[in-house]
Every structure is written in C-alpha cells, then in structure tokens.
C-alpha cells in the first residue's frame, strides 16, 4: 500500500494545480456570462489560435479583466470591441471585417470555386466533341438490347 501512496498523490496533483483559476470568476454571474460570450469572438494575441475566453495566457487574463471592468462601467459590447481593435488592431477579431485588403480573404475561395467550375465545364465540353457517337446497325442494336436485358 505504502508503495502506491506517492503515485496516488502525484495523480491528484492536477486537481490542485487547477485551483488557481478560480480567481478569474467575477462575483456577478450575469456579467461573467456576457464577458465569456464576447471573449469567444476575440482572439488571444499570445496563443493566436485560442479565443480570449479559453486562453490561459496571462495577457488573456488581463484582457478578460479589462472587458469585465468596462462592462461593469456600462459600456456596450461594440464599444469594448472598438476599444480593443483601436489597441490591438483587427487581428483580435475572429470575424475579420470587410475592408479593401480583406476582399481576397472573403471572396478568394469563391473565385477559386468559379475557376474550378469553369475548367470542369471546359473539359467536359471538349471531351464531348472528341468522343464521336457510334452508329449501330440494326443487328448490333438487337444484340446490345439482348445483352442489356440479359443482365437484368
């Protein structure tokens, strides 16, 4: 039994390590929920593929605090987003705005799709021209029908 005790204690370590995050929760659950909904739409600048809501980076924690504070001051979601964009740029938004330099981002995939469809149509049409319709004699027609019916 004594042999297993250290392993048991080690396996409990993550439980205690987790305890540090509790301080992130605000007293007001309604505000906290609103903060999380907003933070889901924002990008953490340190670990760029995580949202501000899910990131554990210290900066994300600070930014959540900032969002929370601005909310409790009565600012609207849009005002808070505008503030963060004015400090960190459009990069904080997961939903990039439509601007002259994001046209390619928004419409590039559709342009590629159109090019693909165009090429497909071109190829199909070309092939149709190169494969001639073969004329069958009555004899061959009958044989073909017989073969096809046989398969049924």
């Amino acid at each position: 039994m004594m042999k297993w005790l250290p392993i048991l204690m080690l396996s409990l370590l993550p439980v205690f390590a987790h305890a540090g995050e509790a301080k992130d929760l605000a007293d007001d659950p309604v505000l906290e929920k609103r903060m999380v909904v907003l933070a889901e739409k924002l990008r953490c600048l340190v670990c760029q593929n995580e949202s501000l809501a899910s990131s554990h980076a210290e900066l994300a924690e600070d930014l959540r605090r900032e969002v929370r504070e601005q909310m409790s001051l009565g600012k609207s979601d849009q005002e808070i987003i505008d503030y963060l964009v004015s400090r960190y740029g459009d990069f904080v938004l997961y939903d990039p705005p439509m601007k002259s330099y994001t046209v390619l981002l928004w419409f590039g995939p559709f342009a590629l799709l159109l090019i693909g469809v165009g090429m497909l149509l071109y190829q199909v049409r070309k092939r149709r021209q190169t494969v001639p319709e073969t004329q069958l004699s009555d004899e061959a027609q009958k044989r073909a029908a017989a073969l096809l019916n046989d398969q049924e």
């Binding site: 600048l45 340190v46 900066l59 600070d62 004015s86 400090r87 740029g89 990069f91």
Partner: protein, 175 residues
Amino acid sequence: MMRFILPLVIFLALAAFLFKGLSLDPREVPSPLIDKPAPAFTLPQLHNPKKQFSPADMKGKVWMLNVWASWCVSCRDEHPLLVSLAEQKTVAIYGLNYKDKRADAELWLQRGGDPYVLSVSDTEGRIGIEYGVYGVPETYVIDKQGVIRYKQIGPVTMQSLSDTILPLVAKLEKE
C-alpha cells in the same frame, strides 16, 4: 503542351506564396497605434514611487518607450544594446516596467545596467493594454507632438536600430 504548362504555372505561383510565407512572422501583429497619439497615463516611477511620470511631460522631445520586465527572457538579449544606445545619448529611452515586482526590477537594472532616463511601474499591466502590448519587449518611437511613429515588436536588434530606429529618430529631430 498546355496540359503541362498550366499545372507548372500553378505550382510555381503556390511555391512563391509558400516561400514568402517562410519569412513572415505570424506573431508580428501590425499596431493600429502607429501615427496615433501615444495613450496618456500617469504612473509612479520605479526608483522613486512618490514621483510620477506621464508622456505629456515629453512634449517637444523625440523619445523611446521600451516595455521591459525582469522575467522577460528576450529583454536580456536587447538590454546591452539599449545600454550602449543610452551611452551615445542620441535618444532618450524611458522604460515601462511591465507586470513586474519592484525589487526584482531594481535588481535586474543593477545587474545589467540602467539605460533608462527613468522607468515607470505598470504592475497590473493596464497601461500595457492601452499601448497594445502583447509580448515583451516592445519599443515605441514617439515624436515631438507625442505621436507614436514606430513600434518594434520583440527585441531591438543592431539591424533594426541602424536600419529603422536611428534614421527615424534623426528625421523626427528635424521636424
């Protein structure tokens, strides 16, 4: 012939884009604060917390604001460069000590040398957010009107100094 050339052209274009991507740093996010007034703040000075400093005090001067911390590893890389830059006295460097403990920060300056005219303590990182700081070190060049003209993300290097920062400072001094 066309059936070989077209895929080759597409491949070359893709390869060119991917090759370009190799030299781009996704961590470098362009700052929207360039050519905007430096956000105002009033913070206690690191060495003398009873005294305060505010960017408004710097009107009429070209200066650099360097965001640093004793826990920041890349700050160690750029620090000797800042010290030698301070010795040349070409531009005044002010420090924003970001999310640091005062004792740690002072010890760090004692060991590595203090290139700053003065440093201010942003213990909670609030002014960092105002300036769009997301990775320390970061350095801002601010002109006589108090407008941010350049932001260096990551450590200042010999190259960024001689290619960008020093020529910009010289130009701003004449404005």
